[in-house]
Every structure is written in C-alpha cells, then in structure tokens.
C-alpha cells in the first residue's frame, strides 16, 4: 500500500538547513497497524505528513497505492488524500464554529456526496463512536475524550483505506486514551490500515509493527504479535 525509498526531507529556514529525514525506506502493507516511535524532533511528524500527502519529500521516491507521489501537484495530492486518507490529531483539530455533526460531515462534502447519503453515513459513524447524542453540540462543549472520538469519526466517515493518527492519545487521560486506542484497533481489524505516531509504549502495543526513528533515520523495526 505504501512504499518509501530513500525519503529525505530538508527544511530551509532563513539561515539554517535542518534535515528532518535522512534516506528513510520502508513499506507498509494493506491491513497493517504500524506505530512510529522516537524521541521529540526525530522526524516522526514529518514522516507522517509525507505519508499523508500533506508534504512532499525533498528527495527519494514515495509510492501511495502504487502511484508515485513525490513531486506531484498539491491538487493531485489533495485528490488522493480526500479519497483514501483519514487523519486523527493530538489536538483533535475540530472546527469550533461547526457542530459535531457538521465537523464529521465535512470530508463527505468535499467528496461531493449527496446530502441524504451524508446524513446516513454521519449518523452511522456517530453511533459507532457512541457520540450520537452530542451531534448538535459544539466542540467547546465536549470533553477531550469526546472530542477525539468526534475526530476519529471524521477520519473514518469516508471509509478511507488508511488512517493516520498523530499522538491520538497525547491530550487524553488514560481511560479516554484507551478508548480511542480500542477504536483504532477495531477499525484495523475491519481492514483499515492504520499508521500512528506515538510516544507511548502502551499505545504502541496495540500495533502490529513499530518503526523506531532517531535523528531522521530508522533505527529499528520490531514486529510484535498481539
């Protein structure tokens, strides 16, 4: 599903050149649950952004669903993104001015799905995330755990082939964190590929494979059986 060959990403600021990724290669197969781990500043989020087509590598090749992506236009990347990828962020990134329902509905609007069908699918996923009773609330009126469930709902509502989660439990207490991890695990069992960046060893244990990054390079890949 995903294949990266010698990916590098260099950030140019005014005077300093920072290398976030150095010639990273790996492959992720359909149905995997991969955790990316490493200390702060090791390049985890940069890698996730490239995987999620939010960013282009400086060099190297990146295949997403057998398409060579590196160097493609923002428009093409946006097209792949909205059809295939759902995102979950540490700080949830919900729009404060929209209700729970409207936040979850948003990706479907950009996919051009008719309103009746949207309503059916949003309701369905809200039920699944056990947040349907809050559908008319605004994000500011929800607890952190509830907000993250809404964010997960938004990530899966378009039935993406890949879910990317960036520290999904980072802002949650352990009970809420566990709930979110169970949700991701459940989705993975239903066939969705999940790639997650995390600090937490406990969260990483939900995954089938851990990629460890250090200073922009892959240190190790551990497969685990659980």
């Amino acid at each position: 599903m995903i294949k990266a060959i010698d990916l590098s990403r260099v950030f140019l600021t005014e005077e300093v050149e920072t290398t976030a990724l150095r010639q990273v290669s790996f492959e992720i197969k359909k149905g995997e649950f991969v955790a990316i781990m490493g200390p702060s500043g090791c390049g985890k989020s940069t890698l996730l952004n490239i995987i999620g087509l939010l960013d282009n590598p400086t060099s190297g090749k990146y295949y997403f669903l057998d398409h060579e992506i590196s160097g493609s236009s923002e428009r093409q990347r946006a097209k792949h993104r909205k059809n295939n990828i759902g995102f979950v962020f540490q700080n949830f990134n919900l729009i404060d001015e929209l209700t729970v329902f409207e936040n979850v509905e948003m990706p479907l609007i950009y996919l051009g799905i008719p309103s009746k069908e949207r309503k059916r699918r949003v309701d369905e996923v809200l039920e699944q995330m056990q947040i349907a009773h809050r559908r008319k609330h605004f994000p500011g009126q929800l607890s952190g755990g509830q907000q993250q469930r809404v964010a997960v709902a938004r990530a899966v509502v378009s039935n993406p082939k890949l879910i990317l989660a960036d520290e999904p439990t980072g802002n949650l207490d352990s009970a809420n964190g566990e709930e979110v991890m169970n949700l991701l695990s459940e989705l993975n069992k239903q066939g969705t590929t999940v790639v997650m960046v995390t600090h937490s060893q406990r969260d990483a244990e939900y995954s089938s494979r851990i990629i460890r990054l250090f200073d922009g390079q892959i240190l190790a890949e551990n497969f685990q059986s659980n």
Binding site: G52, A78, N93, M106, P107, Y110
Partner: protein, 808 residues
C-alpha cells in the same frame, strides 16, 4: 509607565506595518475630507457676518401675483424703501443699490468694462461696515457725481497716483469724482462691488421730485436691491404685520386694475447667501450643498473610525497574550484601557499631522472645484488647528475605547492557556455589521453618482424643440448700434458661412419678459400674465421651431408687423382654445383702462419648445413682430463654418462701429451652462463616492486579512479533510460577498427613493432610473470588493496546511 505604553504602542505599530498603514491611511483620508468640508461650510456660513449690524439689516424682496402667476424677486420698486421708512419708525436707515450692466469706464485714454458698479444711497456706509483706506466716509456719496471705489479698483484705474479727487467718465455720459477708497469687499459677501456712485447723481438728472416720487405707478416697476436697518429694539415682524395697510395706501389702486397683488418679503443679511430663493438675485450659495457636505464629512469620519475599531478588535487575538501577561504581572484593567486608548490617539494624531500637510497641497484644487478662495492661512488658523487637535483626540478616544474595553476584558488564564480569550461571537457580528454599513454608504454614493450623471446626460441631450446647434447669440447693448440692427443683419447674411439671422428680445434660456395682456377666452378678453418674445420675421427659421398649425410671419402680408401673433401648444391648451386656435385675439400693450395697444390675431402654433431650462415646465409663450430692434441677435451658421462666421461677425462688429467690445455666446453652451450646478454636483458625488468606496475597501482589506489569519487553522483542517484550494477560496469569498450583497440590497431602495425625490424637486423633466445603472453599482462594489479581498484569500487558501496546523 507612560514610556512603557508608548514603547509598546510604537513597537506594535512597527511590527504590524500593514495594519498601522491601513489605519493611518483611512483616518488621514477621513480627516482630509473633513478639513476640506469644514473650511467650505464655515466659509458658507460666514457670509456677511463681518458687518457690525448684520443682525439688524434686512433685504427687501418682492413677491408678486399677476393673474394666477406668482413670482419672487430680489429687487423691489425704487420708492419702496424710502416709503417704508416714512411710514414705520422701526426702520432706521434705508440703502438702495441699482446695478449697471457692463459699464464702460474711461480714465484719460484708458477704457475698462466693469460689471460690479452700483448707484447707491449716501447711507451705505452707515448701514454696512467697510473699512476706509483713503479719503473720508462721511458724506462721501451725498453729492451728485461722486464715486467710491475699492482698493484694487483704485489701483487698476489710477496705478500709484492718489485716487482721491480723480475724475472718471462712465459710458461716455457721466463724470464722477472719487471721494473715498474702501478695502476690497470680502469674498464672503453676497453683494460684492468695485465701485459705488451716488444716487444723488440720478436724482439731480431726473429732478428731485421725479426721482423721489411715490406715485402708485412707480411701485409696479421693480429694479433696485434695497436694504433696511431697523432700530436696535424693533423687530422686522411688526413691519410685516403692518404691511397690508401700506399696500392699501401705496399700491392697491393699480394692483386691482391689473389683477395683481404684491407682498413684502425680507431676508436678514446673513441669511441671504444660503436662504434666498428669488429671481434677479446676485449669485447665492446652495444650502443643500452645505447640509449634504456636513453629513458627508461626518459619515466619512465615522467610516474611518469604524475601520480603526474593526481592525483593532480584529487584531485582538494577536494581542491577547500581551494582555494576559500584563494582567498576570499585575496590570489593572483601567491601566490596560488607558494603554489601548493612548495607542489609538497616537495613530489619530499621526493621521492628523498628515492630513494637514495633504490638505495644504489640495487646497488650491479644492478652491477651484468649489469656486472659493480658501487660503492656507484659513487652514492653519488657530480655530481650525484647535478643532482638529481636539477632534483627533476625541476620535482616538472613541475609536480606541471599544477595542480597549474588549481587549482589557480578556481573562488572563484563558488567554495563556491558549484558547484566545473570549470566543468573540458578538464581536464577529459587530464587525460584519460595520462593514455592511460602510458598503451601504459607498454603494448609495455610487448609485447617486451614476444617476446624477445620467440626469446630466439627459439634460444635455433631450430634444428641446429648437435647434441649439450652430447658433451664435450676440447682445446688442449699445443703443446706437442696436438702432442699425437691420442693416447689420443684412450685412451678416452676405457671408456664405451664415444661413440666417434673427433679432429678438429673448432666446431660449434667456427669456424673462412677462407682461400682463388681454387674452380671448370664451368670447371675453381676460387679463393674464404671459411670457413673450418680440422678434423679427426670421425668428422661427433661425431657431428651428416647428410650425404645427397655421403659418409663419410673412413680410408680404402687410399686417403681420403689428397684428399677427404665433403661440406655442401650451398657450393654445392653457388658454382653452381647443381646436380653433387660429384667429384668436390677444390684446397687448394696453393702458390701465384697456385703451391703446394692439390687438393681434393668432396666425400660427409652434410645437412646444424649452425656452427655459429643464428645471421648469413649459409655459405659454407668444411671439410677435417687434416694432423696434431688440437686445439679442441669433446667427445661424453652416455646420462646420462657425469659426469662419465668427471672424466675419467680429470684423462686421468693428466695421459697424459698436462701442462695445465684441462678445458672443453659443446657444448650445448657454443651455449646458444652465446645468452648471448639476455638473458640479456630479463631480462632487464622483469624488465623494470615490472616497467612501476607498475607505470601505480599506475596511474590507483589514477584515479579509483578519479573517484569513484567524481562519488559518480552520483552513488547514479543511484541507487535510479534502478541501481543494478552490473550495477554500469560495468559502472565504462567500463571507465577503454576502456582506456586500446585504449592503447593496439595503442601498438600492434608499438611494432610488432619495434620488427620485431630488429629481422631482429640482426638475420638471428628468430621466428614469434604469435597473442597469443600479446593477452596475452593485456589480462594481462586488468586483472591487472581491479584488480587494483576493490578496489575502488566495494567500490563505494556497498555504500548506502543515504550516497552519503546526502552530497549534
């Protein structure tokens, strides 16, 4: 502490050059407009107030009814002033001014044509305040053949010689000795003169008894401007109350005979410039302009202040952290309010200094536009500077206090935790409402500009019923020259460039002769006041009037020179003549007992033509052959040969020995000049709508930049969830387009209502308001609005979402 605030304010301004620039620019434009309008309005309001006794001085005006026609004039009968003084002790002094049209003044060998010379009573300097420069004011105009001139006229006539005792010759008839020189009449005076000649001169020539006669006949001829000064403890009202008795005593006998009446009107000296609305008046101001301008000045200041408030609150989130920190370290709310208000005051003061400089640069152009002489001294006078300083501080305080209260109200905890202080829901709406208000005003102004322009186009292009093209109008003021008008005309016709020539008393737009005559109505002769033109046989042809019934004047008929009259359609209709118009009788020039004069029969009817401007409805007019040469001569030229004709005219003018310099007007230009006021209104509307639109756009630019900045995170989230750049642009544009559309929807009925009212009040004939003129205004606002916002919208929409989400 102050230093700390100031430093923080200056750094803040420097860091946000874009916003600071927008704010200062907007406020500067607002203040410049305000300064200009303030100078204009205060000049308009200052008219004639420099006269010490202005509150006791009134101008007498005539209000006549002749038949069913009412007319007001700024001039009154010659004996009216003295007779009123004789009857009423309230009146302390009377002074009359009789104008002289284009007077020839000769000093030695040199000749000058002057228009601003008046015959006046010796009381003039006891009533009006004019500073003496040379000579003596006491008795300076009591003797016959004495003259007082203004300082610049003295210099023009006599150079550096002592003017006192010098002699000038006027119109080759009368000699005057200069007895005094006074300072030039200030610009803000409704009655400006360069020279005054003693009324005693005329009294001596006519004989004192004749000159001072109070015979009833003399009260039915108007001709002089008359001012009265009342006693300090009297009121003009009592004179008005007693006027009916005066009318009965002096005027009624004749009034009843000619089916007319007269009423006295008065206007206090300082009110004349803006409030008098009479015929035969000196140039006056326009009250509507003064009020429109004042409102516009306040609106534009308001718009500029709104921009400041808008942007300052919009920037609030950016400064929330500073507020939070200051509070955490112990700042009290009022200290923060003081800080933000002083920032606003700092900005308005910078804008004020800039506006003074810019106003100074624009002053001369503005003077040209308004026809005033506004001086730099007036701009930098203590009053204006004081007012502006106070105003800037007040604007600063007002526009600074809303953001100040808003910002200083942030909870430090919430701010530092990063939730951005208040949710800002109401604030958000307020900002939108303010933008709608701005666009509302701007769109109203644009619609007004377009429609005033259309009306102007309509006025200039309407078919007037006569041919205004290729026609030169001459005035035959020299009586000796005028007596040879017929041979002059025959001479002119020899030029191949000239197709026809007609001598007449009036031409379109210069046609003020109204006289009471007897008109046949239902087999009876009834008194009516009718507009008339006395002309020659070629009048209809030269003017291009269309005959719709009967025939034109004909030299071969023998009796047309005295017994034929041609009327317009409106006359035929209003006189109730029905289908039988030809042969109807009009008795003209009769005595009070209906004897004498001539009884004429209608030989033709012409299609209605606009012998007046389109401000007025077409009235009945009659035309008949004049027994003597008249004042005006219209020369129709071959198209394209106007220059050739003019050369020939000028040569012939000299050859025929006119004592007047050659001068002419083009008939079409005379028409267009009648709409000078509308033309100026058009230009002013254009400028004002430009300014309001510009300020509104500054506001929109600020708002769009704020929105784009504030919604960076939302834009990022949407893009991550599949939105394309175009989706985001649409989302952002939609927000602004709504505001402009709401403003447009509100502006359309308001502007159409107000403009229709204006046209109905000002004109009898006006253009209809087309839907597309209104649509153009809306479209223009939307397009310009979109262009303005697009800079920030495109930038925000195109940004990489990774960047925006990272900031969280």
């Amino acid at each position: 502490m102050i230093k700390n605030y100031l430093l923080s304010a200056i750094r803040n301004m420097a860091r946000n050059k874009f916003y600071t620039g927008l704010n200062i620019l907007g406020l500067t434009i607002g203040l410049v407009t305000f300064i200009m309008i303030f100078l204009y309005v205060s000049d308009e309001l200052s008219y004639d107030k420099y006269h010490q006794n202005y509150q006791r001085i009134y101008r007498l005006e005539s209000s006549f009814r002749i038949g069913t026609k009412y007319d007001n004039f700024a001039i009154v009968p010659l004996p009216l002033g003295p007779a009123l003084k004789l009857e009423y002790p309230e009146i302390e002094k009377v002074v009359r001014f009789a104008g002289t049209d284009n007077m020839l003044i000769r000093v030695g060998e040199k000749e000058y044509y002057e228009r601003r010379f008046y015959y006046t009573d010796s009381t003039v300097f006891e009533v009006f305040s004019h500073e003496l420069v040379q000579g003596r004011l006491e008795g300076c105009l009591s003797e016959p053949n004495t003259m007082v001139v203004s300082q610049s006229m003295a210099r023009k006539l006599f150079g550096n010689e002592n003017p006192i005792g010098q002699v000038v010759l006027t119109d080759n008839e009368r000699q005057f000795k200069i007895t005094a020189v006074v300072e030039d009449v200030p610009e803000n005076s409704h009655l400006k003169f360069d020279g005054l000649m003693s009324a005693a001169t005329l009294s001596k020539e006519m004989g004192e008894d004749e000159f001072n006669s109070m015979d009833p006949n003399r009260f039915w001829n108007i001709g002089v401007y008359t001012y009265v000064m009342i006693n300090p403890n009297s009121s003009m009202l009592t004179v008005h109350e007693k006027f009916p008795q005066f009318y009965d005593k002096y005027m009624k006998s004749i009034g009843d005979q000619i089916n007319a009446s007269f009423d006295l009107k008065t206007t206090r000296l300082d009110q004349i410039h803006l409030n008098a609305q009479t015929a035969s008046d000196l140039p006056t101001g326009n009250k509507a302009y003064v009020s429109i301008f004042s409102i516009v000045a306040l609106f534009i200041l308001l718009l500029a202040s709104i921009n400041y408030m808008n942007m300052a609150t919009a920037r609030a989130t950016k400064r929330a952290k500073e507020v939070g920190l200051r509070k955490v370290v112990g700042a009290e709310r009022r200290q923060l309010i003081f800080q933000f208000v002083s920032e606003a005051v700092l900005i308005t003061i910078i804008a004020m200094i800039l506006s003074f400089a810019i106003s100074g640069l624009l002053l001369s152009d503005f003077s040209t536009l308004t026809g005033k002489t506004l001086s730099v001294e007036a701009l930098f006078s203590a009053n204006v500077v004081m007012l502006l300083v106070v105003l800037s501080i007040v604007i600063g305080i007002i526009s600074g206090s809303y953001p100040a209260f808003y910002l200083s109200g942030f909870s430090p905890l919430a701010v530092l935790k990063g939730s951005g202080g208040k949710s800002g829901k109401t604030n958000h709406w307020l900002r939108r409402v303010l933008v709608v208000v701005q666009f509302f005003i701007a769109i109203v102004m644009i619609i007004a500009t377009i429609i005033v322009g259309e009306q102007l186009h309509f006025l200039k292009n309407k078919d007037l019923g006569f041919n205004k093209e290729n026609a030169i109008v001459l005035e035959l003021q020299d009586s000796a020259f005028r007596s040879r008008a017929e041979s002059f005309k025959q001479h002119l016709l020899q030029s191949p460039a000239i197709t026809s020539v007609s001598n007449s008393s009036g031409v379109p737009s210069r046609n003020g002769w109204i006289q009471v005559m007897l008109v046949e109505q239902e087999n009876e002769m009834k008194e009516m006041a009718v507009i008339l033109t006395q002309c020659d046989y070629d009048f209809l042809t030269t003017m291009g009037l269309k005959l719709i019934e009967g025939r034109d004047f004909n030299r071969d008929m023998g009796t047309d020179d005295s017994l034929a009259v041609i009327v317009n359609q409106t006359a035929a209709r209003q006189f109730g003549w029905g289908d039988e118009v030809l042969g109807k009788k009009i008795h003209y020039g009769m005595e009070l007992d209906r004897s004498g004069g001539r009884i004429m029969k209608v030989i033709g009817v012409v299609e209605d033509f606009h012998f007046n401007t389109l401000h007025n409805a077409i009235e009945p007019i009659i035309m008949f052959i004049s027994p003597v040469p008249r004042f005006r001569m219209t020369v129709r030229t071959e198209p394209g040969k106007t220059q050739e004709a003019l050369d020939y005219l000028e040569q012939s003018w000299t050859d025929f020995g006119s004592k007047r310099p050659f001068d002419y007007e083009m008939l079409d230009v005379m028409q267009e000049e009648s709409y000078g006021a509308e033309e100026r209104t058009g230009v002013l509307f254009l400028i004002i709508s430009g300014i309001t639109m510009f300020i509104a756009l500054l506001g929109l630019l600020g708002l769009s930049s704020y929105t784009a900045e504030n919604r960076t995170r939302e834009i990022g989230i949407r893009k991550v969830n599949g939105a394309l750049t175009s989706d985001i642009m649409l989302l952002l544009f939609k927000e602004f387009i709504w505001l402009i559309l709401i403003a447009f929807v509100l502006a359309v009925p308001v502007s159409i209502w107000r403009l229709t009212l204006w046209m109905e009040e000002s004109f009898v004939y006006y253009t209809e308001i087309h839907w597309y003129s209104v649509a153009i205004a809306g479209l223009a606002a939307v397009i310009v609005g979109l262009l303005t916002t697009s800079f920030h919208v495109i930038k925000a929409a195109g940004a990489n979402p990774v960047e925006s989400l990272k900031y969280e």
